[in-house]
Amino acid sequence: MLHPQSSWPFERPEQLADMLREQGATPEECADLLPALRRLSEWQAPQPDPADTRRLLARLAPALPALSPVRQAIREHRQHRIFWLLATARAQVSLFGLGFWLVSALVTLVGAGIVSSNVLVDAGVASSNVLLVQEVILRASGPLLAFLGTIVAFRGREARVLELELVCLPSPLQLAITRLVIVLGYDVGLSLALALVLWAGGTGDVLALTLSWLMPLLLVAGLALLLSLRLSVQAAASLAYVSWLVLGIVSPLQALLFAPELLVLPGCIGLVLLAIALLRLHTGMHRQLPYA
């Protein structure tokens, strides 16, 4: 198939001489080089006809972006969100410090040790009351982890660095959620380990004991986070924990709170409080600014 030839880009002969001069050739060199350059026009390249261009367009059309660059960037960002959250979580984990992980594990271990061993019987607790005392110990030690977790995870609030957090890629809300997921995830992991220890130790009613530990933990975590919106983190965590000790262990309400059919109630309340606290954290962020 014959193709029309592309035209030589220089219409006037002196254009070539001008180009040579522009690139630094002397008049003598120009005279010497021009005959060779004029010969370049002998080799013409084929020129595509309109049908060739249409075929090329048909092959390229499927590669045409279907979305605007902005929308594409948003979509790609969403696709990488999981990896991004994992990277954020990894950075946050490094901020917690070894002490937090060890103390939390130690509290769980001590609670599990007391509950699963014969310490209570040896201490003179009547066998009919052993389960009740075990539950009380767990109800007191579980929320202790929530207390520790809240203080450690949100200790930066006192530094009044929200302005710095606002210029970071993850929003303060995302950071708060990430920290909560880390702390609560670790605590739930510990509760599973506790359940395993209790089961391996032959303790009866493992589920009830594990819930006695985990549900108050969620309640205190939610309450502490909610209170921290108005109080300092230490005051909020302490108030939440002490309130729980008074309300859930000492007061007459404990019989109602820990009726077998309402065993998961504190946990549900805790999750609701956490959700409210996160929403309030988002809307009331201006209060956290240094000039507020």
Partner: protein
């Protein structure tokens, strides 16, 4: 109505504008094909494949910014793809042993008749062989300058080399072309 610039068309293409794509392709298809055709030594099929590959890269690369001149960016992609093609060992081998070498030897064969030389000149074979003799770095600047009509600055932007290097490569390339082409011309005359 004022014609849209390459940069405006490319911005519209990034947003999925098919009309802008058609305009851009129609504008650049022939020059790009001519450039690659001469760069790869006159292989029509290969140059068409490289044109398609270049334009696919243009569509798939999301790095283009409207402030950047489109034409040097387009020819950078085309040049890099052609270079990648020639880097492959198989291609280098075929160029060393293949038709180009034979054509070159035939051109400078003292037994060639004046008629054969005249026909070769008419078909541009001598120029093609002379360009094929140049090293790739000189061939690229010569083709961009004297076939595509690029300014020195555009060549520098396309190849990411300083302006001085563009001038020196052009000087070497043009002098080597002269050494090959002018004696042949005298023979034909």
């Amino acid at each position: 109505m004022q014609e849209r610039s390459d940069e405006q068309l490319m911005t519209a293409v990034q947003a999925g504008d098919q009309v802008a794509l058609a305009t851009l392709i129609t504008r650049h298809h022939a020059p790009l094909l001519g450039y690659l055709y001469r760069l790869v030594g006159g292989d029509r099929q290969l140059s068409e494949d490289l044109v398609q590959e270049t334009l696919l890269h243009v569509l798939q690369q999301r790095t283009y910014q409207a402030a950047r001149p489109f034409k040097p960016w387009l020819y950078t992609i085309a040049t890099n793809l052609a270079r990648d093609y020639f880097k492959s060992a198989a291609v280098r081998k075929s160029w060393r042993e293949g038709d180009e070498e034979e054509a070159l030897l035939h051109l400078y064969d003292s037994e060639a008749s004046p008629e054969e030389r005249a026909l070769a000149a008419e078909q541009g074979s001598e120029v093609r062989a002379a360009l094929a003799q140049l090293r790739e770095e000189y061939r690229v600047v010569v083709v961009l300058r004297f076939y595509q009509g690029f300014s020195l600055q555009e060549i520098a932007e396309t190849l990411h080399i300083p302006l001085g290097t563009v001038k020196s490569r052009l000087s070497v390339g043009v002098h080597r072309l002269r050494n090959v082409l002018v004696p042949v011309q005298k023979g034909v005359d």
